[in-house]
Symmetry: C3
Subunit: 136 residues, 3 copies
């Protein structure tokens, strides 16, 4: 049996429940829904980057990337990125941030597929992102 | 060609459309979105467990587990759990139920990754869950 | 290293951001969230099929299928279909359209698993669908 490995970047806040920030098994790596929490500080509650969509989005992408790297992977391995926004009015601004970010990532492979939908999130959170990667 | 197998627990209600409750192909097992319907009874419409979030959540998790087991898998094989709640105010209670449930599952592997978002669901349903597993 | 290939049907509109309509790597094929846009016409903005849910749904399914075929796959390879509707009142009508569509697809394998939730989408869009396939 192939082991399933938990991927837990040292800087990440503790998950609010019994789930892993990421798991890897064989060539499949799944990143849990990440939000724009700043690196954890002992004794402080999880705090999102701010004040706006740009800061939260970039922090969220950094949090996803840290989990990929914990599993020996990177954006080039990602097949699917699921984006959950809270406001349809954010779509154009978000796409600009997304494109600029990935433009700086030195990808050698085509970009991942993506689905973007608009949902409710806990107060203060504007975005959540998860990702599925296939390694090797 | 590897066959895709439908996973249909005997106690499950008939899907409301042409989809499978679960499918397995090679080492990939996908569980369709499950809700908190009680075991099907002939001549009765699908009825969710009740009256509250706890009962629906536990029934939903039982329904997911039944499909995993139909495919020779279990929670240890699950990489990703997608949770759809209808009310942000349910998050803390849901996490408590989730943690207690998985605390009793005798997992030998790290917990799955998870994404939780808040969406609309048909009347009477408070939660929907799907899952992706990698076997072997 | 196995290459990740972008799947870009000739008739598809350009994605609004740096993502691929579909990607394939090894035996995994992921289709990005598709909406009911009619085939792209130069100089015209993306336009959804209309006027109703039926036309958008059928165009969306055709758009998903085109990406599967671009990757040498088809509906029989699909493990999971994620459906995002905007209105719970559309569920019954949507299921009728979905069942009729798949009834005409000459599937030789069991139907895919499915999750359907109700979210916000950009103005004018009633449905979005993505899909995960396992080939071979």
């Amino acid at each position: 049996m192939t082991d399933k490995t938990a991927l837990t970047p040292r800087t990440h806040t503790t998950p609010p429940a019994r789930f892993s920030h990421g798991v890897k098994k064989g060539n499949i790596l799944q990143v849990a829904g990440q939000v724009g929490f700043l690196p954890a500080e002992e004794g402080k509650p999880p705090t999102p980057a701010g004040p706006g969509l740009r800061e939260q989005t970039l922090q969220t992408l950094a949090n996803v990337k840290a989990i990929l790297e914990e599993g020996g992977a990177g954006w080039d391995d990602v097949m699917m990125i699921r984006v959950y926004l809270t406001d349809v009015a954010h779509f154009a601004e978000f796409n600009g941030i997304y494109d600029a970010y990935f433009g700086e990532q030195d990808l050698t492979q085509p970009p991942a597929a993506r689905t973007t939908v608009y949902v409710g999130l806990p107060a203060g959170l504007l975005i959540e992102i998860d990702a599925l990667a296939v390694l090797g």
